[in-house]
């Protein structure tokens, strides 16, 4: 491969610097920096806002130093230079902003967040804007260089450093939830060591950083060794090892609510509800390729059907409670809810059979809104309660579970209890999705997604399989709605707006379409993280949008792409045969079915 010319290489770096500079200014002016400014990552040393801005420059430097795809990589010095250049250009943008803010031009009437506090923050409290600008340029240049160094470092150092930084930030952000929990568990000394009241203490940051780095450095060789050991085990033993690890992970998940306490359990419940939705929508969008933007309709149908069937406040006067009592009503109602939702799926699917892509997206978006307006409408108020919704939905779960094992007393309450059925349903949904994906049905859906016309000519009844996808997606989505209803004890039309559809879609795109582990990670990141970062609340949609755009540009297949699945399924296939074939030996084998 020919090497890039020096000027082309530097131009590329400068371009990245411009992008980063615009991003820095954008983050500052939109108010994100200001919002994060109050929060310390490391007490009195590092603010969250600083970390965010620094990350932009580091990423710019990192990307600038990455070897180009189509040409040979330039020497290390040039790559370092590219990183520094990208950082410098980015810093120049912020510097220019500072200088501009110092002129008599009144920028704040347009950019309301460009206040004195922000300027002081960006110029490091320097009196003169020139000094501030110079500091910005110099610092960003260094950060760009750091990004470039990260590229040049071997994998086994880079990963631990990045992980450790992220870990420090995460542990710090978790303070408002972890600290009270530690106090509850009588672990005050640990709490006091970790947190100062507004961020990690310096000592704790160092400990966390070193600890995570050490674990991550040790992890890679340990892992490859484990893999090697596993590989030589017979298939029987390998299965039992895998089974054991599943059990261990399962136990950990089951213990989570107890360890983390009320608030985080509540967050996990929310993650679980969205995960259930995402697993359902994944069938429609990921497997069958039908872009459905009205998925919230099934969430709503599940919740309302459950409410109508079990609430004394509902129009039917709780028929299921009459049959099975308050505790059993949920279980009797659930199959009816699922069938009802699947029928709704067919009703929504049937008229849009001939639509594809954008058109399908627009029509389903409309259906989602129609559903919300129906639930809100006065005409249906006698049945659905209009704005008031339906209250008094009985929960099959006890408010509180106490458990005494000798001297140890454990108790679960509220979200800690409902966490378990949600995990169970998520697991069921994942198994259903997994088995369908690997079957004749899943392949037919995939074929339809790839080329509908050819799928039909090849023998797939595309009408039936589209309807099946809508019905299956609806059936899983309504589970989430039903659980949502018993969790809150009431349903209101306001809970079912278009944002739910968009969020669920974002989870799938972030995680990786058609990939079940991807969807799980997506739900944790998009639902879990914003709950931890309350400052986000105002900017949540902005961040979602940014994340989606970034994913489309940088990694359209998602964080955990759906690949290698078939390989996994058939690892027992004797590799010997494959090698024999390469050597031309299996030619003699008769081919008999």
């Amino acid at each position: 491969m020919p090497a890039m010319t020096i000027s082309a290489w530097l131009r590329r770096a400068a371009r990245l610097g411009v992008v980063a500079g615009v991003a820095l200014i954008y983050l500052s002016l939109v108010g994100l920096v200001g919002a994060f400014e109050e929060r310390d990552v490391v007490t009195d040393v590092l603010k969250l806002g600083t970390l965010m801005l620094a990350a932009v420059a580091v990423i710019a430097g990192y990307r600038a130093a990455l070897p180009p795809k189509t040409a040979a990589a330039p020497p290390g010095v040039m790559r370092l230079a590219a990183g520094v250049l990208a950082g410098t250009v980015a810093g120049a943008f912020v510097g220019a902003l500072l200088l501009l803010a110092a002129t008599p031009i009144d920028l704040q009437t347009v950019f309301v967040r460009l206040n004195a506090a922000l300027i002081a923050f960006l110029s490091f409290d320097a009196e003169s804007p020139v000094v501030g600008a110079a500091l910005q340029i110099g610092l960003n240049a260094v950060l760009g260089g750091v990004g470039a160094v990260l590229v040049l470092l071997p994998d086994r150092f880079r990963r631990p450093l990045v992980f450790a930084t992220l870990a420090v930030a995460l542990v710090s952000m978790a303070e408002p939830y972890v600290r009270p929990r530690l106090d509850q568990l009588d672990m005050d000394p640990i709490a006091d060591f970790l947190y100062s009241g507004h961020g990690l203490t310096v000592a704790a940051s160092v400990v966390v950083f070193v600890l995570v780095t050490a674990v991550a450095v040790a992890w890679a060789p340990a892992r490859s060794q484990v893999d090697r050991r596993l590989a030589v085990l017979p298939a029987e033993r390998r299965r039992s090892v895998r089974f054991t690890s599943f059990i261990l992970i399962g136990l950990l998940v089951l213990a989570l609510p107890l360890i983390t306490g009320q608030f985080i359990s509540q967050v996990l419940v929310l993650v679980g509800l969205y995960l259930l939705l995402a697993l359902g929508l994944n069938i429609v969008v990921g497997y069958a390729g039908l872009l459905d933007l009205g998925y919230v309709a099934f969430f709503a149908v599940g919740a309302y059907l459950m409410a109508i069937l079990t609430s004394a406040d509902g129009p039917l006067g709780a028929p299921m409670v009459a049959i099975a009592g308050e505790q059993g009503a949920f279980f009797v109602a659930l199959p009816i809810v699922m069938v009802g939702a699947a029928l709704t799926g067919l009703m929504i699917g049937a008229p849009v059979l001939r639509l594809r892509g954008d058109y399908l997206a627009i029509v389903t978006l409309g259906f989602g809104e129609i559903a919300r307006i129906l639930f809100l409408s006065d005409a249906l108020e006698p049945w659905l309660g209009g704005v008031q919704g339906i209250i008094g939905i009985p929960s099959p779960l006890p408010q509180r579970v106490d458990f005494a094992l000798g001297p140890i007393e454990i108790s679960w309450s509220g979200p800690q209890v409902i966490f378990y059925p949600i995990v169970l349903f998520c697991l069921l949904a994942a198994v259903v999705a997994y088995r369908l994906a690997g079957s004749r049905v899943g392949r037919a859906w995939n074929a339809m997604r790839e080329d509908e016309e050819v799928a039909e000519i090849t023998g797939v009844n595309t009408v039936n399989y589209k309807l099946l996808a809508f019905a299956m997606g609806a059936g899983l989505g309504c589970l989430s709605g039903a659980l949502f209803a018993i969790q809150l004890g009431s349903v209101f039309p306001g809970s079912f707006n278009v944002l739910v559809s968009i969020t669920v879609l974002a989870i799938i795109i972030l995680g990786g379409m058609g990939s079940i582990p991807g969807v799980i990670l997506g739900a944790l990141v998009l639902i879990g993280l914003p709950e931890l970062l309350r400052e986000f609340a105002e900017y949540r949609l902005l961040v979602y949008g940014g994340v989606l755009v970034a994913m489309m540009l940088l990694r359209p297949e998602g964080l955990i792409p759906n690949r290698g699945r078939q390989r996994e399924l058939h690892e027992q296939d004797d590799e010997d045969e494959q090698y024999a074939h390469e050597a031309g030996e299996d030619v003699a084998k008769p081919v008999v079915a």
Binding site: V441, A447, Q566, V591
Partner: protein, 288 residues
């Protein structure tokens, strides 16, 4: 694909996985497998096919040739149920195909390949073949969710059969889990053929199977077509531009021009037919 693999393919005894159809001579009807009468297709004012008649004898290889725009692909689309004919009948083994949906036609045992390769790009090679086998499999969604023994067994059998087909068309074993879009061009054509064969078709429609291939690959494909007919007791209908392929492999040739059949017969007859030469080369060439 190497030549060595081609030769290995020819040595392989091939059997069909399910009840093999009786040999052509013992077939219930020794008549044509497909009969087309007065087939006409109009798109608005444009007549793409006008009153076409032809038969395909069971077990034969028949070619359809004609200049670009002669209506060959429209004809294929009517045979597979993509277009409903404006007039005329299409009868496959005594069953009328008119009004059937494409997937129903596929179920009867008609499979096709495409002029511009149309694989399921983001699916693995073996999954592509398994979709081709869709009509011969039975697993329903609830059975798949329960992962019944019958489903697992059917899946295993189908995979086995798919591997045999991949081997038959000469695709390497290590490509099995590769995404279809990552295969080289010639292998994509082979995969498309394997997908069509997975249907266990009685009639195979090939739309320019050697388009874009070099002479070596073309020869291999021609050999493969002849071999498939022999070993899988297939009937093959071929659209082809390459006269060498057409003359070498087909027993009968039908010539279309401006949507009408202008000639039909043995390869030598077609080669000498002045109307055919006129259609391809112009009036002057035909008279001179």
């Amino acid at each position: 694909m190497s030549d060595e693999q081609t030769s290995s393919v020819e040595e392989m005894p091939v059997t069909r996985s399910e009840a093999p159809p009786p040999p052509p001579t013992a077939a219930p009807s020794d008549g044509p497998i497909l009969e087309v009468h007065g087939l006409t297709k109009r798109f608005g004012g444009l007549v793409a096919n006008r009153g076409i008649d032809f038969d395909i004898p069971r077990g034969s290889i028949v070619s359809i040739i004609g200049p670009n725009g002669a209506g060959k692909t429209t004809l294929f689309n009517q045979l597979t149920g993509v277009y409903a004919p404006s007039e005329g009948t299409v009868t496959f083994e005594g069953t009328s195909l008119v009004g059937l949906a494409p997937h129903q036609v596929a179920e009867l045992g008609i499979a096709r390949t495409y002029q511009n390769i149309r694989l399921f790009q983001n699916m693995s090679v073996i999954a592509n073949v398994l979709v081709g086998r869709h009509v011969r499999m039975k697993a329903q969604w609830f059975q798949a969710i329960l992962n019944l023994r019958s489903v697992r067994e059917e899946e295993e059998r189908s995979r086995e059969r798919a591997r045999e087909l991949l081997k038959l068309v000469g695709l390497r074993r290590r490509y099995e889990e590769e995404l279809a879009k990552n295969l080289p061009y010639g292998d994509q054509r082979r995969l498309e053929l394997a997908r069509a064969l997975a249907n266990e078709p009685k009639l195979l429609l090939l739309d320019e199977p050697t388009a874009g291939m070099n002479p070596g690959e073309t020869r291999q494909m021609t050999d493969l077509i002849a071999q498939l007919r022999r070993e899988l007791s297939l009937t093959i209908l071929l659209i082809e531009h390459d006269m060498k392929v057409v003359m070498g492999v087909s027993e009968r040739i039908t010539v279309l021009d401006y949507g009408e059949k202008i000639a039909e017969g043995l390869p030598e007859q077609i080669r000498a037919n002045p109307r055919v030469i006129e259609a391809y080369l112009g009036k002057q060439a035909a008279t001179s």
